[in-house]
C-alpha cells in the first residue's frame, strides 16, 4: 500500500519547507498559471494542466549576469543562493530538466545552472488528465512518470500519494506527516501515442516540406521560450562608466541572426531555421548527438502558444506519412 499525505497536512509540510527553502510553485498570475516563489502555501494554484512558461527559468533564467568587472577586480560568480524546492512540477517538465542537464550539467558545466540544480529538490505532480495538446507518451514519458523527480505526488480523493524517488526526496519528506492510503492508486489517462516518431525523416521530402511549413512561421521566439528544453542564448557585454558586465539571455533558433558568426549565417532562411528546430527536437537529433532520445518532451506548450499553429505533432505524423515528393 502506498503512503499518502492528507491535503491539510500538505500545507503544514510546505510551511516547514518554506523555513529553509525558496519554494517555487504554480501560482495564478492574471488569467494563467506560472511558477513563482511563494511565501505561504495558500498562494499555490493546483488546478492547472500545465503552466504557460516551463519551470526551466528557475534554473536557466531568461537573462542573467555572468560576471562583472569594475576596473581590475572581478566580482565572484555564482553568488550563493538559497535551497530551492520546485513544487508541483509536471513529469514532462522534469524530463525537460534532464535534457537541459545533457548540455548544462555535464562538462563543461554551466556554473550557474549546475549550482541551482544542486540546490534544488523537485516535487513532481502527476497529471490526472492530459490536456488536448499533450503528447508526453509519444516522447517516451508518461503523465505519472516519476523517473526525473525526487518526490512524486499523485492526487487522490483523500490526499496525495507520495512516492519518494531519491535520497534527496527522502530527506525532504522526512518532516511530513504520512499515512497509509485507503484508496487505490488512480488510473491515469495517457495521451495517445503519435505514430511515426521512430522513423527518420525521408531525405528527399525535406526542402519543400520545410519551406511550405516555414511560409506560415513568423520566426518569433515563442516556441523556444516556452519550451522546457531550449537552451540557446545570446551574450552581450556592457560597459557603464568603466563597470563591465557580461549578460546572457535566452535566444531562439528562429531569430534572423541565429548563430551568425562574423557576418556568416549558417541558417539564413526561415526554412533552414525551421528545419533546424525540428531536427533538433525530433529523432534526427539522436543520430547527430547520440543521446538516445529526442529533446522534445511532449509538453505541448509550443502547440498552444504558436500564433500561427505550427504544430509539432503534425510534423511528427507528417515525417512518416509524407512520401518523397
Amino acid at each position: 500500500m502506498a503512503r499518502i499525505i492528507a491535503k491539510k497536512d500538505l500545507a503544514s509540510w510546505l510551511e516547514e519547507l518554506l523555513k529553509e527553502h525558496t519554494v517555487i510553485a504554480p501560482t495564478s498570475v492574471g488569467e494563467f498559471t506560472l511558477f513563482r516563489p511563494i511565501i505561504t502555501p495558500e498562494e499555490i494554484a493546483l488546478d492547472f494542466d500545465n503552466t504557460v512558461l516551463s519551470p526551466k527559468e528557475w534554473f536557466f533564467p531568461r537573462a542573467e549576469s555572468l560576471f562583472t568587472r569594475d576596473g581590475g577586480a572581478e566580482e565572484p560568480v555564482p553568488q550563493p543562493i538559497d535551497k530551492l524546492v520546485i513544487f508541483g512540477i509536471r513529469p514532462c517538465d522534469a524530463k525537460g530538466l534532464t535534457v537541459l542537464d545533457k548540455t548544462l550539467y555535464s562538462t563543461p558545466f554551466d556554473a550557474l545552472y549546475t549550482q541551482r540544480r544542486n540546490q534544488a529538490t523537485l516535487i513532481g505532480l502527476a497529471c490526472s488528465k492530459p490536456g488536448p495538446q499533450c503528447f508526453c507518451t509519444t516522447m517516451g514519458s508518461a503523465p505519472d512518470d516519476a523517473s526525473n523527480v525526487d518526490i512524486m505526488l499523485t492526487e487522490v480523493d483523500d490526499g496525495y500519494i507520495v512516492e519518494t524517488v531519491t535520497e534527496k526526496g527522502k530527506a525532504l519528506i522526512a518532516g511530513a506527516l504520512l499515512s497509509e492510503s485507503k484508496s487505490p492508486p488512480p488510473q491515469v489517462a495517457s495521451p495517445a501515442v503519435i505514430e511515426g516518431i521512430t522513423e527518420e525523416m525521408p531525405e528527399s521530402a525535406r526542402e519543400r516540406y520545410w519551406s511550405r511549413l516555414a511560409d506560415r512561421c513568423l520566426h518569433c521566439h515563442i516556441c523556444a521560450f516556452v519550451c522546457p528544453t531550449c537552451y540557446c542564448t545570446q551574450d552581450r557585454q556592457y560597459d557603464s562608466q568603466g563597470r563591465v558586465e557580461q549578460l546572457r539571455c535566452w535566444y531562439s533558433c528562429q531569430g534572423q541572426g541565429f548563430t551568425r558568426i562574423g557576418g556568416y549565417t549558417p541558417n539564413p532562411t526561415k526554412t533552414d531555421r525551421m528545419r533546424h528546430r525540428f531536427y533538433h527536437k525530433l529523432p534526427h537529433f539522436p543520430d547527430t548527438q547520440g543521446s538516445g532520445y529526442a529533446t522534445c518532451v511532449g509538453c505541448g506548450r509550443c502547440v498552444t502558444a504558436c500564433p500561427v499553429n505550427i504544430d509539432i505533432r503534425e510534423v511528427i505524423a507528417d515525417t512518416k506519412q509524407r512520401q518523397p515528393v
Partner: protein, 664 residues
C-alpha cells in the same frame, strides 16, 4: 580604446570663479578612456592652444574634450588647434562650462558637480566620435545685394570694385533709400543728396552692377556659394531700354497723387521718378493710380457705370515710344554665391501717441517730414512752413524718444540718431529764420560719436535751443497755436509752451517685410524684427547662415557713417569668401546605411531641402543623401524607424552616450 585628453579652461575667473577646477580635473581623471587631463588660464589664448597642441602630440591623444565657453564661441578656434596637432578636427568636443554653468549658477558644490557632469557628458560623446572629412564644392562668384540704401549702395560698389558681379535689388523705383530723403547730415551739415548722388550714379553706371529696381526677392534656395534667387520685378510699363528719361511724361501726366518720397507732404504724378536725382533716372507707371490702367481694369472687370478716361497722354507725348502697356510683372532667376542684406529701416508711426494728437494735428510733424520741409528740393522748396496754413513757425517744440526707449510702444531700444537730428534741426531752423525759437524735450542727450557732443552744444549755444529734460504730457490746439504741456524734471515744475510747430523725433523701426525676408533667407531676427548678426561684437556683419551678410539699419539703429562702414565690411567679408576657388562643406551631414534602409522613403517626404535621392540596387531601392544639399538638421534621422540614417557629429550613439553619462 580611445585616448581622450580633457582640458579645462579657467577663462580667467569667468569659469574658475564659481567652478572648482581642481575637483573637475580630479573627476575627469577617473572617467573612462581619459588618458590626460590639464587646465589652462585661457585655453583660447595662443599659449593655451599651444599647450593643448603639445599635450595631444606628447600623449598620443586621439580625442579632445575642452571644458570652456560655448561651442558656438570657440568650436572653430579649437578645431584648428586640434588640427594643428595632426588630429582630425572633428574629434573635438566642447563642454560648455561658462555660458551654461559658471555664469548662470552661484558659487557652490552643485555648480562644480554640474561642471563635472558636463565634462563626463562630453567625454562620453567624444568616445564615439570619428574622423570626418569635408567635401569641396564650387562657388558662383556673383553677389546679391538686397536694398539700395546707403549701406547697400556702399556694399554693391565695394564688391563691384573688387571685380565681382553684383545684382542690386531695390523695391522702390529708385535707389537712395532714407538718406536721399534727408536734407543735411549731422554733425557736418553737408548736403545729403550732394554726397549720396554721386554714389548712386556710380551704381547706375558700374559695369559690374546689375540694378533691379521696383523688384523684390521672393524665394531663395541653395546654400553658400550656390544660391538660386527668384526676384519679382514689378511691371514698370516703361521700356527702360528705349526711355531716355527726358521727363516729358511726368511733367504732363494729369494724375496727381501724394508722393511717398515727400512723406505725403507733396505730390507726384502717376508716371513718375521719386525724386530728381533718382537712379535709374527713368520713370515707372504707378498702375494703381494711372488713369489708363484704371480704365483697362475697369473694362476687364466689366464694371457698370461711367468709364474712367483713356488718358494715355504719356504714350502720345513720349518721343521714343517707351511706354509699354503690355509689360507684366516678371520673375527673374539669378544664381549667386553670397548675399548682402541691407534692407534698412523706416520711421516709427507716431499716431499711436494719443498725447501728441495721434496724427490729428497737421502742425505736429515728424523729423523726416521736417527734413522734407527744409530741403531745397522738397515740396516747399526749402521754405519751412506750417502744413496747416503755410505760416512761418516761430516757436518750434521737439519731442524726443517717440517710439524709442518706450516700453508702452514695445520699443525699449534707443534709436540713437534722434538726439543728433533734433540738434541738427534746431541749428537748421535758426539758419532758415533767426526768429525761430526751439524747445527740445529730451530724456538724455545721447551724443556719443565723433564731434557729436560739440554739435549738440552748438544747438544750445549758437542756435539757442532750449533743452528741457522731461516728456511732453499733452498737446492741444488753441486757435492757431499748439499748446504743449510738459514737465521740466530738472526744475521740477510743469511747463506750457504755445508752439507754432511740433516736431516728433520718431525712432527707427525695421522696414516692412523684414521678418518675411529673414524667413525666406533662413536667417534669424529678434522680437523687434531687427535681423540678428552671427555675433554682436565679433561677427557684426555675418549671419548664422553661411554666405549671407548684413549691413546697416536692418540690424538695429545706425547712423550714416556706421551704415557705410558696415556696407564696406559686408563687402570685404564677401570678397574674402569669393577669394577662394572652391568651398569646403561642413561634413556634419546625414548619411544612409543602405544595408539597413527599407526604402519607405519617409526621409524623402520630410526633408526640407530635397536632399534625399533614391538609389536602385540590384535587389531593392534605398535612400541616399545628397551631401551638397543636406544641411544636417537630422529630421530624417529622427524619423527613420529602422535607424538606417546617421547624422555625423550627432549620431544616435553619440547623443545616447551623452544621455547615459548623466546617470551613474
Amino acid at each position: 580604446m580611445a585616448r581622450i585628453g580633457v582640458f579645462i579652461c579657467h577663462c580667467g575667473t569667468n569659469i574658475a570663479g564659481t567652478v572648482n577646477i581642481a575637483e573637475v580635473l580630479e573627476a575627469a581623471k577617473q572617467m573612462p578612456n581619459v588618458a590626460f587631463v590639464d587646465d589652462n588660464k585661457y585655453s583660447c589664448s595662443e599659449p593655451g592652444q599651444a599647450s593643448i597642441r603639445d599635450a595631444i602630440v606628447a600623449n598620443r591623444l586621439d580625442r579632445v574634450v575642452i571644458g570652456s565657453c560655448s561651442p558656438r564661441m570657440h568650436e572653430n578656434t579649437f578645431r584648428r588647434t586640434v588640427a594643428s596637432a595632426g588630429l582630425n578636427p572633428y574629434l573635438l568636443e566642447i563642454a560648455n562650462l561658462r555660458e551654461h554653468c559658471s555664469w548662470v549658477h552661484g558659487d557652490g558644490k552643485e555648480t562644480t558637480d554640474k561642471a563635472i557632469e558636463l565634462v563626463r557628458k562630453a567625454v562620453n560623446k567624444a568616445t564615439h566620435y570619428e574622423a570626418l572629412f569635408p567635401k569641396q564644392i564650387g562657388l558662383t562668384k556673383r553677389a546679391l545685394v538686397i536694398g539700395g540704401g546707403i549701406a547697400g549702395i556702399q556694399a554693391a560698389l565695394d564688391i563691384a570694385n573688387s571685380g565681382y558681379e553684383v545684382v542690386l535689388v531695390e523695391r522702390e523705383p529708385s535707389i537712395g533709400g532714407r538718406m536721399a530723403q534727408l536734407d543735411k547730415t549731422f554733425p557736418t551739415l553737408d548736403c545729403s543728396a550732394c554726397i549720396l548722388a554721386p554714389k548712386m550714379v556710380d551704381v547706375g553706371q558700374h559695369p559690374n552692377i546689375t540694378l533691379l529696381t521696383y523688384s523684390e526677392v521672393q524665394k531663395v534656395t541653395g546654400y553658400v556659394g550656390n544660391f538660386e534667387v527668384e526676384i519679382l520685378q514689378k511691371a514698370k510699363k516703361v521700356d527702360h531700354k528705349t526711355c531716355t528719361g527726358c521727363g516729358t511724361c511726368w511733367q504732363k501726366c494729369p494724375e496727381k497723387v501724394p508722393s511717398e518720397f515727400e512723406v505725403e507732404m507733396g505730390e507726384r504724378t502717376a508716371i513718375y521718378i521719386p525724386f530728381a536725382q533718382a537712379v535709374p533716372p527713368k520713370p515707372v507707371i504707378d498702375v494703381d493710380n494711372c488713369r489708363y490702367t484704371k480704365y483697362l481694369r475697369f473694362v476687364e472687370e466689366g464694371k457698370e457705370g461711367k468709364k474712367p478716361p483713356q488718358c494715355r497722354i504719356c504714350e502720345r507725348l513720349c518721343p521714343t515710344g517707351a511706354i509699354d502697356w503690355e509689360q507684366q510683372d516678371q520673375v527673374i532667376t539669378e544664381r549667386v554665391g553670397a548675399i548682402v542684406v541691407a534692407i534698412g529701416y523706416q520711421t516709427f508711426d507716431p499716431s499711436a501717441y494719443g498725447e501728441y494728437g495721434g496724427g490729428r494735428y497737421p502742425d505736429v510733424v515728424t523729423g523726416l517730414e521736417l527734413e522734407r520741409l527744409m530741403c531745397a528740393s522738397g515740396p516747399t522748396e526749402g521754405e519751412v512752413v506750417r502744413p496747416s496754413d503755410g505760416a512761418h513757425p516761430k516757436t518750434v517744440v521737439f519731442a524726443s524718444c517717440v517710439g524709442s526707449r518706450d516700453d508702452r510702444m514695445g520699443r525699449s531700444y534707443c534709436s540713437k540718431v534722434c538726439c543728433m537730428y533734433m540738434a541738427k534741426h534746431a541749428i537748421m531752423l535758426k539758419e532758415h529764420d533767426p526768429e525761430v525759437q526751439c524747445y527740445i524735450f529730451y530724456i538724455d542727450i545721447r551724443a556719443g560719436g565723433k564731434d557729436f557732443e560739440e554739435f549738440a552744444r552748438r544747438a544750445q549755444e549758437e542756435a539757442g535751443a532750449i533743452y528741457l529734460r522731461g516728456r511732453i504730457s499733452k498737446i492741444y490746439e488753441d486757435g492757431k497755436k499748439l499748446i504743449v504741456c510738459g514737465e521740466d524734471s530738472l526744475m521740477g515744475r510743469p511747463v506750457e509752451i504755445a508752439a507754432d510747430l511740433v516736431v516728433l523725433a520718431t525712432g527707427m523701426v525695421p522696414s516692412d517685410g523684414a521678418a518675411e525676408l529673414a524667413r525666406t533667407l533662413n536667417i534669424s531676427y529678434d522680437s523687434n524684427n531687427f535681423l540678428i548678426e552671427a555675433h554682436v561684437k565679433l561677427r557684426p556683419v555675418e549671419t548664422q547662415t553661411d554666405g549671407i551678410f548684413l549691413a546697416g539699419a536692418c540690424i538695429g539703429p545706425r547712423d550714416i557713417p556706421e551704415s557705410v562702414a558696415q556696407g564696406s565690411a559686408a563687402a570685404a567679408k564677401l570678397a574674402t569668401l569669393f577669394s577662394q576657388d572652391t568651398l569646403i562643406t561642413d561634413p556634419l551631414t546625414a548619411v544612409v546605411d543602405a544595408a539597413w534602409c527599407v526604402g519607405c522613403f519617409l526621409c524623402q517626404e520630410v526633408c526640407p531641402f530635397n536632399a534625399i535621392d533614391s538609389l536602385v540596387t540590384d535587389t531593392r531601392t534605398v535612400a541616399v543623401v545628397n551631401e551638397g544639399l543636406c544641411k544636417g538638421c537630422g529630421l530624417c534621422v529622427a524619423d527613420c524607424r529602422g535607424g538606417a540614417i546617421k547624422l555625423r557629429g550627432f549620431s544616435d550613439q553619440q547623443l545616447l552616450a551623452e544621455v547615459s553619462a548623466l546617470w551613474r
